[in-house]
Amino acid sequence: MQTSQRAIEIAVGLFVAAGAAALFALALYVSNLTAFAGGERYTVIGHFQNIGGLREGAPIDMAGVQIGRVEAIELDKQTFEARVELSISADYDNLPSDTSAKILTSGLLGEQYIGMEPGGSPTTLQDGDELMLTQSALILEELIGQFLYDKASGGDE
């Protein structure tokens, strides 16, 4: 097989470029790398009684639009509540200071995310602020337990 050096070099160049482009495309289109990777952001803190299956990197939505990501989750040693750091894009720096956060589930078996609902306060959330109103995740076992309890107590009447 006689292939000229020039043709070989062109083919190798195309191959390496295609491989690099494939890696780049994987990073860009297949993974979540690009969503809120860059740009200014600020952090607010929420305390939740129970975060259920929330994980670091979960999206934060307001009105269905993604505005940030969960940055860190740890247990507060004093209150034994979950302390969640919410990293929000600086494009949305005018959220009212009484904005509330709920832990929601996308679909029946989907992953958990944080839904924010704006309040009516004239002041806005600043970096490092703490959310006043939070709502824990719904835990299916607790719901079933409560349902059974209600059933049982209702049956006496």
Partner: protein, 258 residues
């Protein structure tokens, strides 16, 4: 009885000798790599043989593996009403496991066996010894460029494999299974993480590429310089590469994913 024990001992000694020779061989090759900076043409030539000529089989397999994953995943997921997650399933299986592993197995069969046969025949026809006669080090002139080219080509081939697999899955999911294209991509992007899944897949493919090429060039360089020796070495390359890739895959998975 004593003869059996002697056979066992001889086999063990041979195996240990091979491990030792291959390690020393690798050390000499790695020491010779910096000299390749002056001769990039040698590496480009090998990248063509190892990488470009493997593209067809890698691309075709990638597309079909992705399509089969989408189909099979759909049939299972639809029972749970989770068929929208088929994109996640395809992308995670490809980036974490199938991309690096299947690429490495194909790479061992397509490029590795060719490397062994080529170097083995060079040895059998005394081309390597005549190089030494002319004060050309065959390890640096012949073997080192092939090792480097395999190391470079493998992750690129794996990336192409994965991307085409995800594309093939997309075509099947949207055109045959009626899954919304937007859901396919968005579910995938929500669940595939760059640092965990894609970076680990790249680390795997780098490791596999290194090991597969190392085995191939060593088997060729170490074979008996006869027709039978070359054919045995070629078979050993494919078998050992497959075993090493599958074993290493378990090890790397256990180490990297928690």
């Amino acid at each position: 009885m004593l003869a059996r024990i002697q056979d066992l001992g001889a086999a063990t000694l041979t195996a240990i000798g091979r491990i030792g020779r291959s390690s020393l061989f690798l050390g000499r090759l790695l020491a010779g790599l910096p000299l390749l900076v002056k001769r990039p043409g040698l590496v480009i030539q090998q990248l063509y043989v190892i990488g470009v000529l493997s593209l067809v089989i890698i691309s075709v397999s990638g597309v079909f593996v992705g399509m089969v994953l989408a189909l099979q995943g759909y049939y299972t997921l639809v029972d749970f009403g989770a068929e929208q997650s088929v994109g996640t399933l395809v992308a995670l299986s490809l980036t974490r496991e199938l991309g690096p592993v299947v690429t490495a197995l194909l790479f061992g069969g397509r490029a590795g066996s060719a490397l062994t046969a080529e170097i083995g025949l060079m040895k059998a026809t005394d081309q390597l010894s005549s190089m030494e006669m002319m004060a050309v080090d065959p390890e640096r002139r012949v073997v080192a460029p092939r090792l480097l080219a395999g190391f470079i080509a493998m992750p690129l081939l794996a990336a192409i494999f994965i991307l085409l697999g995800v594309g093939g899955g997309y075509v099947v999911a949207t055109s045959m299974l009626g899954i919304d294209g937007g859901a396919y991509w968005s579910q995938m992007q929500a669940n595939v993480s760059f640092s965990d899944d894609i970076a680990n897949g790249v680390i795997k493919s780098l490791t596999f590429g290194f090991v597969a090429t190392w085995i191939a060039v060593f088997e060729g360089y170490d074979c008996k310089p006869t027709s039978e020796g070359v054919s045995r070495a070629t078979t050993r390359t494919v078998v050992h590469t497959s075993l090493a890739v599958l074993g290493l895959d378990f090890l790397l998975t256990a180490l990297m994913f928690d």
